[in-house]
Symmetry: C3
Subunit: 160 residues, 3 copies
């Protein structure tokens, strides 16, 4: 019985991880297809999205960004928001994900890497699904903020 | 007993997912090393590979593509077929994977992103392994087909 | 009881895999933030890192590389070491990971893909964590070594 409880807890931990993987992997398809509602739903009602020079506040702001003229023009020409294989840290009903993002655009018949950035996602588990509470994304252009974000993810590793 | 059956079913679900991950992750190494047989074996006998302007039909057509002069010339100069972290939807013995692909070539001593595309894979489980029934890959160059492919992957998310 | 042992062994296998995923995903954040100790700790004491024209030997050599002037200058301008979604082969307490790497640098206000390479990692499990015993990374610039490395990963697939 105790063993079964332990097994179930370990199974649930793995299932929560793959649910997190799928959420992260769905971000690109949502925004690059202009599926504003699907993109917004990844965020919690009050979740934030800080991309360095601006912060969106609330799920509806994420939806509005996807529907906005700048994003719509980007995807009409062809855009790809790729996220790299994520580093995941789950702690109870909270999780942190660290990964890189690349934004590709199509210009003069060529594919151009417009931005390469460091990303930190903080999420909460509502019992059935993950929701993004905050996402930070800072371009890796020498700005100290991007390095600090990445350092935070591995701060515990040197001490093991 | 009933609990054990439930546990085994959940374990199997996770194991099927990681088998799928490995299949996806093996595509690049197979084609970039010119391992035609390994690449072909990922597909079912009648599996298809639609890359926008042409569709390969059958495992042997995938093998022949890898052995063909265009692909051989590409990899002789150095090529990298990268797949992004995949979004996975498993439903019984069927699965759908959505991800991005990048094809890198080496030209004039520089690495150039030749294509950035949206991908949809449909697979079937034969009891021991996954097989590709169809892969679609459309460049993200503004073509509506690529956006429609990505929209399909997230169609269920807005409604949850 | 026997069933429980089987279940626990399968769970452990999945948990070892996600631990491996996280190790791989932490490499980029460690080196791009200049977290030399965190990067070094991924390697075993005697682990090696062969990047084609040079081989680092030992954890301390990896640490020294991250602290060195060339790497420090790279990350001061902004650098991103991305690893692609990895193909994983676990065999008892050993594992092999095959993936691609991209090194992005920031130059003249643009992001440039400096290197695109094939990677093979060999790791050992010490009972609680994975350690890198060897990493090989060879640029996909037409060099036969990169193709041979990728071929090795899929050598078993054609025969199934």
């Amino acid at each position: 019985m105790q063993l079964n409880e332990q097994i179930l807890a370990r199974l649930e931990q793995l299932e929560k991880r793959v649910a997190l993987y799928d959420l992260i992997a769905s971000y690109g398809p949502a925004v690059d297809s202009g599926s504003a509602e699907a993109a917004g739903t990844l965020w919690g009602e009050e979740g934030t999205y800080d991309y360095g020079d601006h912060t969106l506040v609330g799920r509806s702001a994420v939806e509005a960004m996807v529907k906005g003229p700048q994003h719509q023009s980007l995807i009409a020409d062809g855009a790809a928001h790729l996220l790299s294989f994520p580093m995941v840290q789950i702690d109870g009903d909270g999780a942190t994900v660290t990964c890189y993002s690349q934004v590709w655009i199509h210009k003069d018949k060529r594919f151009v890497a417009w931005r390469v950035s460091a990303n930190r996602w903080e999420l909460s588990w509502d019992g059935a699904a993950w929701q993004v509470e905050s996402r930070q994304t800072y371009p890796l252009n020498g700005d100290e903020k991007a390095r600090a974000l990445l350092a935070q993810a591995v701060a515990g590793i040197g001490q093991r």
